[in-house]
């Protein structure tokens, strides 16, 4: 569709993705693009695209911020159809430094479904047999509900009057309060994401210059109230179109990434990205030990030292996970592999696990075993690109755990201060 609009083939693309996408989802998007013959220049979280646009706008406003080093902090809140994303960015001189990201699978679709359920509680059972007429009715109902929600953004009550045919009618006056009550859970989730993002960014609310609301649902008054309330701001940033901001930002990134230069310096931009999810391994019993924490600047490289739990343990199983849940099983299994260890008393071999995320967001795991007193690793270092398995392979880890029990376990070696 884009190709027919532009009247020329598209080869390189910049895609924006929700913050809460796991590495599997990113990999799948890349695969899909490869199948379609598209070269992915960048996969960027949606709010960071907005951050880039904001950086450019600020660059235009104050041309000399770079010299003074004055930076502007902004909170970006994006509520689309399926996902809610929040980012805190520090901007100066065209460089937008992402301080923190948070996101969750909650969005306009949930609001719409809640509302449909509210208007017609039996709607789900009514349309169960999926006939053509049912689907048509359902979409009529859907569109009508959507219109009602839109009207509630500007007025306090709305008259819902839908004729569903065959004697079914929905006539109801819905107030804004009702709407907010029905979607309480959605709004609470959004609020939690904003609070978490501000907390992770370690930002003093007083230093926050702008609050940017984008996305299809950013017009809902309650959403505005919540975000502005949490940020203790009177009004939000009005410099960009909430529906186009993400796309504009992505277009800018595309221009930067393909090396287009502008003599006026308007494209002298850079986004410093962070990882949205922690990545770590299973160790210390059945615990998730993060190696790279969420909101770490990319490219990143960090290592932790682990050691064996058994006398003369000759192998260790390394299982890698991505996520931020305390419970190991709730996180995504990225892969697993074994390293060989020379026989030694327990606790003496040092197993170095290094995670490396390079500039193009490829995650690698390097593992090396060192015996104390020797500077060289005992075996060549293993290097593995992740994810190794596909999504939903958590059962693999379970099976391995059943087979080996705790015989291949690791514990983290606390650094002596």
């Amino acid at each position: 569709m884009a190709e027919s609009r532009l009247k020329r083939p598209v080869r390189n693309v910049v895609l924006t993705v929700p913050v809460s996408f796991s590495r599997f989802q990113l990999t799948r998007i890349q695969r899909a693009c490869a199948m379609a013959g598209l070269h992915v220049l960048r996969l960027m979280p949606e709010p960071t695209a907005v951050a880039l646009l904001y950086a450019q706008q600020q660059l235009k406003v104050v041309q000399d911020t770079m010299g003074s080093g004055m930076e502007k902090l902004a909170l970006i809140f994006n509520l689309g159809a399926g996902y809610c994303d929040v980012a805190v960015t520090a901007t100066a001189g065209g460089v937008s430094e992402i301080k923190a990201l948070s996101g969750g699978p909650v969005g306009g679709e949930d609001i719409l479904l809640n509302m449909m359920r509210h208007l017609l509680p039996e709607s789900e059972s009514l349309f169960l047999n999926h006939g053509v007429s049912d689907i048509a009715l359902l979409s009529t109902f859907r569109v009508a509900t959507q219109d009602a929600i839109h009207s509630l953004s500007s007025q306090h009550t709305v008259d819902v009057n839908i004729d569903l045919g065959n004697g079914m009618k929905v006539c109801k006056v819905v107030t804004r309060e009702e709407f907010e009550e029905v979607n309480k859970k959605v709004f609470e989730k959004c609020e939690a994401l904003v609070v978490q993002c501000l907390h992770d960014a370690k930002v003093d609310l007083g230093n926050l210059s702008d609050v940017i609301l984008v996305g299809g649902c950013s017009n809902i008054p309650k959403i505005r109230d919540i975000v502005l309330g949490v940020c203790k701001k009177g009004k939000c940033y009005t410099g960009m179109n909430p529906y186009e901001a993400t796309v504009c930002g992505a277009a800018l990134e595309g221009a930067v990434a393909s090396g287009v230069t502008d003599p006026c310096g308007n494209l002298d931009l850079l986004t410093i990205q962070v990882t949205p999810l922690s990545i770590g391994i299973r160790a210390d019993g059945n615990e998730f030990v993060p190696i790279i924490f969420r909101n770490t600047t990319i490219p990143a490289r960090r290592e932790l030292v682990f050691t064996t739990t058994r006398e003369n343990q000759t192998e260790a199983l390394i299982t890698l996970y991505e996520g931020d849940e305390d419970k190991l099983d709730k996180n995504h299994l990225l892969g697993y592999f074994k390293v060989g260890i020379p026989p030694a008393p327990k606790g003496t071999p040092e197993i170095n696990i290094c995670l490396d995320i390079d500039a193009s967001n490829v995650l690698r795991c390097l593992a090396g075993v060192v015996l104390p007193g020797s500077p060289k690793p005992v075996a060549p270092i293993m290097e593995i690109v992740l994810p190794m398995v596909d999504d939903g392979h958590g059962w693999c880890a379970e099976a391995l755990k059943r087979e080996y029990g705790s015989t291949l376990d690791l514990i983290s070696l606390r650094r002596k201060m």
Binding site: Q30, S68, C354, S360, P377, P380, I381, M382
Partner: protein, 153 residues
């Protein structure tokens, strides 16, 4: 303290040191093919050894950021941004492996937080007052620096 640091440096610098180590790459061909951005990422520290081409190690975080010891927070921030524009793998036209930027970012993280900066300044001062003076400390400091910056992550 000396002893502890030496022991730590032996274990910590396995991957972070500029010394090239042999690497078994399990799926080399797929690795190169799967890079969305081709050339700029081909040189990871292990696979493309050019220890001589690497810049000499700066002896303090202040030198990494190219600021003076008494730089203000604002100066540090703007120095970080300027360096990011030249060293960030997304920004630089020549192929860069991102290792420079990681160093810069670590330095920035330490120095931009007043607490960790104070701690770092103390360590740095401790080395300066020692019998070796400035030149004697040079070989020793990378180990200190790594250990230090790891703590703030």
């Amino acid at each position: 303290m000396n002893g502890t640091l030496a022991a730590l440096s032996s274990s910590n610098s396995l991957f972070l040191s500029p010394v090239t180590l042999p690497v078994v790459s399990t799926n080399y061909s797929t690795r190169n093919a799967s890079f969305p951005r081709g050339a700029s990422v081909k040189s990871s520290v292990q696979t493309c050894p050019e220890p001589t081409a690497r810049k000499p190690k700066a002896s303090s975080l202040y030198e990494v950021l190219q600021v003076s010891r008494d730089a203000t927070q604002v100066q540090i921030k703007s120095a970080y941004r300027t360096l990011a524009k030249t060293c960030h793998p997304d920004a630089s036209s020549h192929s860069s492996d991102g290792q420079d930027f990681i160093e810069i970012n670590k330095a920035y993280l330490t120095l931009s937080d007043p607490d960790s900066r104070a701690l770092y300044d103390m360590k740095l001062g401790f080395g300066m007052d020692g019998p070796f003076g400035y030149s004697g400390r040079a070989g020793f400091s990378p180990a200190v620096r790594r250990w230090e910056t790891d703590q703030c992550w």
